[in-house]
């Protein structure tokens, strides 16, 4: 980021939530970069940015789409880059219909299931047909788990039958991705931005000018986002829109470019690389699905075709090495490398599906590790009620968090909904070691693994996660010893022999070595692998996470490398270790032109050295080292051998950056704007109000407020958004128990504009009660000019800011009502994330009622708004679905659709 000439921070409050990472923005600014912050609130990030642009929460696709339109309409796109490195020239098949043609739906939508059949989105085949996946079209078979399909594809994107795409490099064919893109965003204009986002045309012009002036050969622009983009019912599409824009501007794979996904906790990146997610195995390999991936062959075919381009074609080697790392000698060619030891998915098993299963008494026990759902998860009441249905609950944390004490001091105890003596859940609290009391790696935002040395031993009975799970595994295996039951084999055959120190702590470096992988046979047996390209599918190598291979090359812990930046090159390759292969910028082949020369001296990073016939540069080249720029592959080749010399996106099935996603995004090949689940305005672009593919959780304890045009919408007229403050950490488990942090932000508050305070009679620093269809909470009122009312579609939209760090309980230094209690649960369909960045509410002066009267207040609002389980939970709006926005109450009409 320090190399950027312009940085747009949108969907993130970077200075407050990522203050350490913000040093790079400060450095870029010191070198002359322009910093723009697009956010509903003026925050500490805005305070140090060159410009703050207030936006209505959840309208980002309109703004980004309009920037795409601006770039295309004014010919500001980086032509040479776009034609050579993206799929702009690729033809899409004739059956494709855009959301512009179908009023907010793409072709292939099934209103019953809410899912798309993606086959009509495919690239065109020479005979007028479509390029499909390796098994025809495996995406949406009857027994698949479509809700999780996008994430299952992992970093490689969806597979392709082959890589011989039809291209029109003049970009004139109406079926080219480029022309489709142009048509799709034609109505995303500055006027539309003003209409939908509440952003003035001069602010839009400033933003458009800043990013286009700072893109091209000589300059690069970087975007940074965090959960302000992801936590929406179409969050993944927000990021896709930014990706399209960055590809058009030629800012991918180049220094100071890209899109920085800011991670909110230490090693959250690590927890997706070696995942805690239900649908992934380490290294973004998918979890097998029952009925679809019954055999090892089915599974491998579904990941990648041997004929497609790039390194995903080697997925069999990564998978076999993983199975060898887990099951050692028990994984043999005869038993398909113990493939059948892997569990199978029978549907979506995300945290919220588990939540509803808990409420339905289908879950007996629950482990909470470094998580405080009673405060930190959406719809807090559902979370706490669900825990009361468990037989047992294990909480491993630093402090006695609310998720460990809800049975005696939760809001539901106060309201009388739960009585301690009636709760049968047995709660175990196990103290955890802190980050300074254990060794291991953190993987941060930039995929950098950094080793953390143990500073002191954990006090008392506190244990590291490593020790806890090692011990738990040992005890379970002891219990099962001698079992002849087949289902116990996977546990008994695990490689589980980690050396421990005097305190019983396993050696974390041994675990790192196992993740790195080693040769198992031949003269090199036992030697650590130095690269994932050494992995083989014949059982001769092991490795716990292929993308991490190399971190322990030559038996050296490279995550612990600590050479100061000033003593090494610009990419600082000897500080920590970045996956894959210590590359600091992914797809960095794109930092050179198609002939292999740097786009400019100023932005040079990796280039082709004709004399040495190899790629060289400041970074580790993210390309086959000796693949010359002009190389054209054998048309029948697959894998890395199929890559052309100008295919920088080596993990994509066609080697190109995807402006248009012919597969993989379950809610559309191009991002389109839909309003959030709860919105005070009607969708200005389509009759379809909400993302038709969103995952609904229609339940009485998860009601949705009526949106614009629906009766009762006026009962919850204000938009609220939740966020973090620098002084606290998420649900407060690491901050509200610490006096030094607690005193810096002691009380729950809301942020409102002077106009809203006036409208509702709110006193500065007085009390107010915020009511949503789920809950009512009380807050102190910060009246501030930092909140701006926006005029959207002819009406003033007030936004209320709510930090979510406080919770109701007796043990912390400071406590307060939890903002997350207000939130409902509607999920994004690709990654199952909750839409916690925007909701509808009302705010009134004074404290909330105590006891059962609190429930009466919430019920009174629900009754007045007339909300039912169906409200907001129909798939289709307008014809065929629920009634669309009422034209009489809707101040603007839908613009005429062209194309």
């Amino acid at each position: 980021m320090a190399n950027a000439d312009c940085i747009v921070i949108q969907g993130s409050n970077m200075a407050e939530c990522h203050p350490v990472g913000y040093q790079w923005v400060t450095e870029a600014k010191a070198r002359g970069a322009k910093v723009i912050h697009v956010d509903p609130r003026f925050t500490r990030t805005s305070a140090v940015a060159d410009k703050h642009v207030p936006i209505r929460a959840g309208s980002d696709i309109v703004l980004l789409g309009a920037l795409i339109n601006h770039v295309l309409a004014h010919n500001l796109w980086f032509e040479e880059y776009v034609v050579a490195y993206t799929n702009a020239a690729t033809l899409v098949n004739d059956d494709y219909r855009d959301a512009e043609d179908l009023d907010g739906l793409f072709s292939g939508f099934d209103p019953e299931s809410g899912q798309y059949d993606m086959s009509t989105w495919a690239y065109a085949e020479g005979d007028g047909g479509r390029v499909s996946g390796p098994e025809g079209d495996p995406e949406h078979g009857a027994e698949s788990v479509p809700e999780a399909a996008g994430q299952q594809l992992g970093s490689g994107g969806p597979p392709m039958e082959h890589a011989r795409m039809q291209r029109d490099e003049t970009l004139q064919d109406p079926r080219t991705v480029f022309q489709i893109l142009k048509r799709h965003y034609a109505r995303y204009t500055p006027e539309m931005v003003q209409e939908v986002c509440g952003i003035a045309p001069e602010d839009f012009a400033y933003l458009a000018r800043s990013i286009t002036e700072n893109s091209g050969r000589e300059r690069t622009t970087c975007f940074a986002y965090a959960v302000g983009w992801t936590q929406h019912s179409l969050g993944a599409q927000f990021i896709r829109t930014a990706s399209i824009l960055q590809l058009l501007l030629g800012n991918m794979g180049r220094p100071g470019g890209g899109i920085m996904a800011l991670r909110g906790h230490a090693s959250i990146q690590g927890s997706t690389d070696i995942p805690t997610l239900f649908n992934l195995l380490p290294g973004y390999l998918p979890m097998p699905v029952a009925g679809t991936h019954d055999t090892f062959e089915d599974y491998l075919d579904a990941i990648a075709s041997k004929k497609q381009k790039g390194y995903w074609a080697e997925a069999d080697a990564y998978t076999v090495s993983l199975l060898k790392a887990w099951w050692g000698d028990a994984a043999t060619a005869d038993n398909d490398w113990a493939y059948d030891y892997l569990p199978r998915l029978t549907g979506a098993h995300g945290t919220f599906q588990t939540l509803t299963s808990m409420l339905d008494d289908e879950v007996e026990g629950y482990f909470l590790l470094g998580q405080n759902p009673a405060v930190g998860s959406s719809n807090g009441r559902m979370q706490r009620m669900a825990m009361s249905h468990l037989k047992w609950l294990v909480v491993r944390d630093l402090n006695l968090i609310e998720s460990a004490t809800w049975w005696k001091d939760s809001p539901e105890i106060a309201s009388g909904e739960l009585r301690t003596e009636d709760i049968e859940t047995e709660v175990f609290f196990l103290p955890a070691a802190t980050h300074v009391e254990k060794a291991g790696t953190f993987t941060q935002t930039q995929r950098l693994l950094q080793w953390r040395h143990q500073a002191v031993a954990p006090p008392g009975e506190c244990q590291s996660e490593l020790q806890f799970f090692h011990e738990l595994g040992k005890r379970i295996r002891q219990r099962l010893a001698g079992s002849t039951d087949e289902r116990d084999r996977p546990l008994l055959d695990l490689t589980w022999d980690y050396p421990t120190d005097a305190h019983g702590e396993p050696d974390a470096e041994v675990v790192l070595a196992e993740i790195n992988g080693r040769h198992l046979q031949g003269p090199d047996a036992g030697r650590p692998l130095s690269s994932f390209t050494e992995m083989r599918a014949d059982g001769s190598t092991s490795g716990g996470c292929w993308i991490y291979t190399g971190v322990y090359a030559d038996g050296v812990n490279r995550a612990a490398a600590r050479k100061p930046g000033q003593e090494q090159g610009p990419a600082a390759l000897e500080w920590g270790w970045a996956w894959p292969a210590n590359r600091r910028i992914l797809y960095n082949r794109a930092s050179a032109d198609p002939q292999g020369r740097p786009w400019s001296e100023r932005k040079k990073h990796v280039w082709w050295d004709e004399e040495q016939r190899t790629w060289v540069g400041d970074d580790v080249p993210d390309f086959p080292l000796h693949l010359a720029p002009g190389t054209r592959p054998d048309p029948d080749a697959g894998g890395a051998a199929a890559l052309a010399g100008d295919d920088p996106f080596i993990m994509q099935a066609d080697g190109k950056g995807w402006l248009y996603a012919p597969k993989g995004m379950v809610d559309g090949p191009l991002p389109s704007h839909y309003e959030p689940q709860e919105s005070p305005v009607a969708n200005a672009l389509y009759t379809q109000q909400r993302n038709p593919s969103r995952v609904l959780m229609a339940r009485q304890d998860n009601l949705t407020a009526p949106s614009a045009g629906d009766p009762g919408a006026g009962v919850y007229p204000y938009v609220f958004t939740t966020y973090r403050l620098t002084e606290h950490h998420t649900a407060g488990g690491m901050s509200r128990w610490l006096p030094y942090l607690a005193e810096l932000q002691p009380e729950m508050f809301c942020e409102v504009s002077p106009e809203l305070a006036e409208e509702c009679g709110l006193e500065p620093y007085g009390w107010a009660t915020v009511v949503s269809p789920r809950a009512a909470i009380e807050v102190r009122v910060l009246v501030t000019d930092r909140m701006t009312p926006l005029v959207v579609r002819g009406r003033t939209v007030h936004q209320i800011g709510l930090p979510y760090h406080w919770g109701v309980g007796d043990d912390a230094v400071v406590s307060g009502d939890a903002a997350n209690d207000l939130l409902g649960l509607t999920l994004e369909p690709n990654v199952q994330i909750q839409d916690s960045k925007v909701g509808s509410c009302h705010i009134r002066p004074g404290r909330r009622p105590r006891g059962p009267a609190l429930l009466d207040l919430v019920a009174e609002y629900q009754a007045r708004a007339g909300v039912t389980v169906e409200t907001g939970n129909t798939r289709l709006d307008g014809p065929g679905g629920a009634p669309g926005p009422d034209p009489d109450t809707d101040p603007t009409t839908h613009p005429t659709r062209e194309n």
Partner: protein
Amino acid sequence: MGQLAGPTDPAADAHWEHQHPRKGFFTDTSICIGCKACEVACKEWNQNPQDGDLQLLESSYDNTGALGASTWRHVAFVEQDGERIEEARESGRALVSLGMPRVGPPEARAAAEPGDSTPPDTPEFRWLMSSDVCKHCTHAGCLDVCPTGALFRTEHGTVVVQDDICNGCGTCVAGCPFGVIERRTDGTAAPRTEREGRPGSEPAVPNVGVAQKCTLCYDRMVDDQTPACAQTCPTTSIKYGDHDDMVDQARQRVAEMHAQGRTEARLYGANELDGVGGTGSVFLLLDEPEVYGLPPDPRVPTADLPRMYRRAGLAAAGMLAAAAVAFVGGRS
């Protein structure tokens, strides 16, 4: 006793035989992100107790309030509208035309920015953040009035309290022109001897009753370590080093900002001709000092001593003369 006012090297003035370069802070508030990591790192290293009352202070994001016995770094938050920003820009420009602060040659790079050489539009709103700290004055009021010698000038030119010597008289509290130093309380009025628990047990709040303030991490400095606040500051808003370098950097930064049209930038504490002989901690501010709660024209009380002595002497001489005249006159 050394020099009482005006420019001087305070360590030399304090008769240190082995002199070290004078150390100090440069706090550049233009890049402060208000994270308060300095406040926390300071408390953590110096083991200062929690002193907030766990209620909102009703002052934007500031719930600390002011520097005090247990708070040695304090981040102020000031919300301002466009009119006030224009005024700040105007007053900063006026300072330059008065020749203070001294402005070096404009940085070449700032001018090279395409389309950016003109002053940026004045925004409609801004949120100032600034981390305040003890000034470690060239002429330190607290030190000069301390009757026990508990406050002393270190070899690095900083001012430090010796907890075990301070008798809690409080003279220094009135002596500091910035209101920095304060006696620590534990919330009770009981005499110190009756406050602590069993003999030998750790008191809940250490150093109750004695004067406390920033030591510029003297204990770290003697080991060549950076003070905790500067070490932790993620954006290098708090810089630490030789005082001369700090002042140079500060002047350069102001010049750079003025070249960009941001004439609201000005220095605080870098003028060695001011009432405290310049401060060891210098600041780059984006508005007048009062906006941040800083005195515009701090003056060490002892600066007036020579004048007071002169006047007292003059008065005494006058009285003597008058008496003499009376006697002489009586005789005549």
